[in-house]
């Protein structure tokens, strides 16, 4: 199942595309190294729980363990609030894009512009369009990583296409490792 082609077969990226990441240690190392990491979550993250877990719950674990702020889209916010987690901000997918493109923007006065952004829960085409925009218009030097179930071609790194169980396992691995010093 694991593959590094865009999930939507007709989304043919340009001359550069995301490097596939299958070793979760790479992501946790980058998270630990980042000065201002950020997680952005859209509403596909809130899919019904199964035996292996719910992505929203795992993101909360990652955020808590790594003290990483989370921005969610309006339709995603209730899933976090009902688990007692308050996101750092609620913005639409495209508003998130405008903020990430703006080098002067930060979540609050205590933060600076993020240098590492994780994406999860995006409707596939909205994810690739947002990330395509960031690839060309965001300030240089930011790492964008898609940790969605499907390979996204416009980031720095992306999970491959994988089964739901594999995906949940990978997310859990990050959650387990990110809090370890």
């Amino acid at each position: 199942m694991i593959s590094d082609e865009p999930w939507q077969r007709y989304e043919v990226p340009g001359s550069t595309q995301s490097t596939v990441v299958t070793k979760m240690a790479v992501i946790t190392a980058l998270l630990k190294k980042a000065a201002h990491p950020l997680i952005v979550v859209a509403h596909h993250a809130d899919i019904p729980a199964n035996v292996t877990g719910n992505p929203v719950e795992i993101i909360i674990r990652i955020a808590d363990a790594g003290k990483i702020p989370v921005i969610v889209t309006p339709s995603t916010a209730p899933a976090f609030r009902k688990r007692g987690f308050t996101p750092a901000a609620t913005l639409s997918i495209m508003e998130i894009g405008t903020r990430l493109n703006d080098p002067d923007w930060s979540i609050s006065n205590d933060h600076q512009h993020p240098d590492l952004v994780l994406f999860l829960g995006f409707p596939y085409s909205m994810g690739w369009l947002l990330q395509s925009g960031l690839k060309s218009f965001a300030p240089k030097g930011i790492r964008f990583i898609s940790i969605d179930q499907r390979y996204q071609p416009h980031c720095t790194l992306s999970f491959p296409n994988q089964s739901r169980d594999e995906w949940i396992t990978h997310l859990n691995t990050i959650a387990d490792e990110v809090g370890c010093t």
């Binding site: 999930w7 639409s92 508003e95 369009l129 060309s136």
Partner: protein, 797 residues
């Protein structure tokens, strides 16, 4: 002696004239056969012309740049490459420039311009062909009559061109202007022309403005010449749905947008007493316009219903005209032995041109199977051929279908390996393999559940997609065939323009904010989920007494939704342009009546000068008229040009997730206070007016997000305290309803405590205390972005 006084008495602003003089005798001259060509005769009407009569591509640049400063483009490159010239392909990603020097931002805006120009050209081409036909049938001097209560008959045309059209012939001048502008706009897309993204965007706005002019010309021409409903809020309710077409009768299916052939089919049926003997049904805007002419005609559904109805076997003959017609329609029709008649030179579909052949010969060749169909560019002849073919093909075809039964589906589905290749080409990422696997085990319900969310593109059946040769779309149809036969709803046929009297009645409450907003629900059927989401959104705002206007495929989808008690929305809500009214204006070209209503508010209610005065009217609409466009399933280039016409008027537009593929949004930054200053026209002072409206073009991730965004984008700087309170009430209430909490940005919109909805006062004050909110001085500005509109005594800063 030359007498042109009878012409000059008519108040037509501009027209071409040719004067022929058989014999001219003067003191010093004697001549025979003199011909004089006069390019334009400029005449006046009751309103003096403003500063921008027939503006060119640069004339409203300053206004566009004001809007684009508030709402800068946010790009979503659909493709990293440019492949428009032979120096390329060029990779423009990550700051690179192409061989011509263009960068990614300019390239994205260039493609947006190309898209909007295509859309505008398509409406203009439609208007031109329709007008030519109507001039031929009704005469160039046919007096335009679009209703006794519609004195301001053509707000877009008057505003942009300065022409007050009186006859069909006057509309030819309007279309001449549109064609000239489209040529210039397309020229801007050439390599080595415009290089600045904001200037490209200004031209996108220009394309949109021209689009609304052309649409208006097309619709008022057909309303008047074909006697469509003339602003009638009680226009007929007509049938919609696949199940409305009687399988026991011969049937004709019309697809497209130019109603002329459908009118001729109707006339032929009437003339030959066949109205009740043959079912005439349509898909897309031709269907909507057909029901404005013939309320016995039926609407099959939006454009997503094309292949499903053809494969369902419901059509004995298919008549296509232009726009949004499946380009594989002949191949699909052949599967069910239905002939195709093409009636537009824009859309021959490879069929032989039989325009000048005798009807008997055409009909005979098709019935005998010599030909799959014919192109017939004479609508009258096409009408006769269609009717005769339907009658002849009905017993021959026996409503032959290309849809399998349940047992066949279940047997085929057993071979599905679950590879998900079908899902990976589905625009909606539908779980096709999962549904097919279940069907293989005898459970067809999952396939049936996909029926409403499938946009009917058939990419899942493309060559090589399924290694086992399965046809997922066909399987969905097979699992839904009983339901398709029962699919019956009602839709109000297009009423055309908004009456002047309606504008007088609601203009004030809209501008004051007491009618919380006007929604324009338009666009195609490229929905991210069920088509019912469109009706769901409409119902939410009808219940809240917003004015919901609609057109095109969106109007159909609103009809294909029922309330909890099983009532259709058109049956549950009146068709008046008033609070709680559901106003179906008609087809795509009827969109001009929605923008026209906003313009009319400025002209009729506020008495702003209309004639050639675009910038001032747009400034009025942007700052005062709480209108929002929603194109949930927008798909086409026409949808982009329609949206662009609203943008130039400063009216925000929301699209569904697929709309992000238009590749750029126009988004405000509510966190940038300096972006939200307006000039108070009374004093000339610049004052903070909050992000009202916050965005000009935004995509919503879910229908709930769209619903919550709508009331927010209806807020305007001019809202009275009562009006703002009503709008805030809906915004906060909907945010609570769908997202569980009050919005975190409401402090931006509460100017004083008087703005706070009474029922929520305590909660809101508590929330405001947790922010840096400070009560304002309560002055509501007379808002404008134009320093020249500051009144005498005031001084623009």
């Amino acid at each position: 002696m030359i007498d042109i006084s009878s012409q000059t008495k008519r108040k037509i602003l501009k027209m071409k004239a040719r004067v022929k003089i058989d014999e001219l005798i003067g003191d010093d001259i004697r001549a025979h056969g003199v011909e004089l060509d006069i390019g334009r005769i400029i005449r006046t009407w009751e309103e003096r012309p403003g500063p921008t009569r027939m503006p060119g591509i640069g004339d409203l640049r300053e206004w566009d740049h004001k809007l684009l400063k508030k709402y800068p483009p946010h790009y979503l490159p659909f493709c990293d490459l440019c492949c428009l010239c032979t120096m390329g392909k060029c990779d423009l990603s990550r700051g690179k420039r192409g061989a011509c020097g263009i960068d990614m931002a300019a390239q994205q805006s260039r493609i947006v311009l190309l898209s909007a120009s295509i859309g505008t050209a398509t409406h203009t081409g439609h208007a031109r062909h329709l007008l030519e036909h109507l001039v031929e049938t009704s005469g160039r001097d046919h007096h335009l009559d679009i209703g006794a209560s519609v004195n301001l008959e053509a707000p877009n045309i008057r505003l942009v061109t300065g022409i007050k059209p009186i006859t069909l012939g006057d509309l030819e001048d309007v279309i001449d202007y549109c064609e000239k502008e489209i040529t210039q706009l397309l020229a801007c897309c050439h390599t080595g022309q415009e290089g600045n993204n904001i200037d490209f965007e200004s031209k996108v706005f220009h394309a949109g403005m021209i689009d609304h002019v052309a649409m208006e010309a097309a619709d008022i021409a057909q309303i008047s010449s074909l006697n469509f409903p003339k602003g009638d809020p009680e226009a007929s309710l007509v049938d919609i749905g696949i199940g409305c077409v009687n399988p026991d009768k011969p049937s004709i299916l019309v697809i497209g947008h130019n109603v002329a052939p459908s009118v001729e089919i109707t006339d032929y049926m009437r003339d030959h007493g066949l109205e009740d003997a043959i079912d005439l049904a349509g898909i897309c805007c031709t269907a909507l316009d057909l029901t404005r002419y013939n309320n016995k005609a039926k609407i099959v559904g939006p454009l997503s219903h094309q292949i499903r109805f053809i494969r369902y076997g419901g059509a004995d003959v298919i008549v296509i005209d232009e726009q949004c017609v499946r380009t594989d329609v002949v191949i699909e029709a052949e599967k069910v032995n239905a002939p195709v008649i093409a009636t537009s030179c824009k859309n021959f579909q490879g069929l032989p041109d039989r325009t000048h052949d005798p009807v008997d010969s055409i009909v005979g060749d098709i019935i005998s199977g010599k030909s799959l169909g014919a192109a017939i560019l004479d609508p009258v002849k096409a009408g006769e051929v269609a009717v005769r073919l339907a009658t002849a093909m009905f017993p021959k075809r026996k409503k032959f279908r290309a849809i399998p039964d349940e047992a066949t589906i279940a047997a085929a589905a057993k071979s599905c390996g679950g590879c998900d290749n079908c899902r990976r080409v589905c625009p909606n990422d539908l779980p096709l393999a999962e549904a097919i696997t279940a069907a293989g085990k005898g459970n067809l319900s999952l396939l049936g559940e996909l029926y409403e969310s499938c946009i009917g593109c058939t990419r899942c059946e493309g060559e090589g997609v399924c290694a086992k040769g399965l046809m997922p779309h066909t399987m969905i149809l097979g699992a839904s065939r009983i339901r398709m036969g029962k699919e019956k709803f009602r839709v109000r046929c297009g009423r055309g323009p908004i009456q002047d009297t309606e504008i007088r009645a609601v203009g004030g409450p809209i501008v004051m904010g007491e009618v919380p907003g006007v929604l324009g629900m338009v666009g195609c059927s490229n929905n991210p989920g069920s088509w019912k989401d469109v009706g769901f959104i409409a119902e939410e705002f009808l219940k809240r007494r917003y004015i919901v206007t609609t057109s095109g495929c969106a109007a159909m989808q609103i009809g294909m939704y029922t309330t909890e008690n099983g009532q259709g929305l058109y049956e549950a809500y009146p068709g008046t342009f008033d609070a709680g009214g559901l106003v179906n204006c008609g087809s795509c070209v009827s969109n001009a009546h929605i923008s026209g209503a906003a313009i009319k508010i400025a002209s009729i209610f506020a008495r702003r000068q209309l004639n050639s005065n675009y910038e001032e009217i747009a400034d009025y609409v942007h700052n005062r008229v709480g209108a929002v466009g929603i194109a949930w399933g927008a798909m086409s280039q026409k949808a982009s040009s329609i949206a662009a016409g609203f943008w130039r008027l400063g009216i925000p537009v929301i699209v569904g997730p697929h709309g992000a593929k238009y590749r750029r949004m126009l988004l405000g930054r509510k966190d940038h206070d300096e972006d939200w200053e307006v000039i108070d026209a009374r004093t000339g002072e610049r004052v903070y007016a909050a992000p009202t409206p916050e965005h000009l073009f935004a995509v919503a991730e879910t229908r709930e997000e769209a619903i919550v965004l709508i009331p927010k984008l209806c807020m305007r700087p001019s809202d009275t305290t009562k009006g703002r309170s009503i709008k805030l009430n809906h915004y906060i209430d909907l945010h609570r309803k769908f997202f569980g909490v009050m919005p975190d940005d409401m402090h931006l919109f509460v100017r004083t405590t008087a703005d706070i909805p009474v029922a929520m006062k305590e909660d809101i004050l508590k929330a405001l205390r947790q922010t840096d909110w400070k009560e304002g001085d309560g002055r509501i500005p007379d808002p404008t972005l134009l320093p020249r509109l500051v009144r005498k005594g005031g001084r623009a800063e």
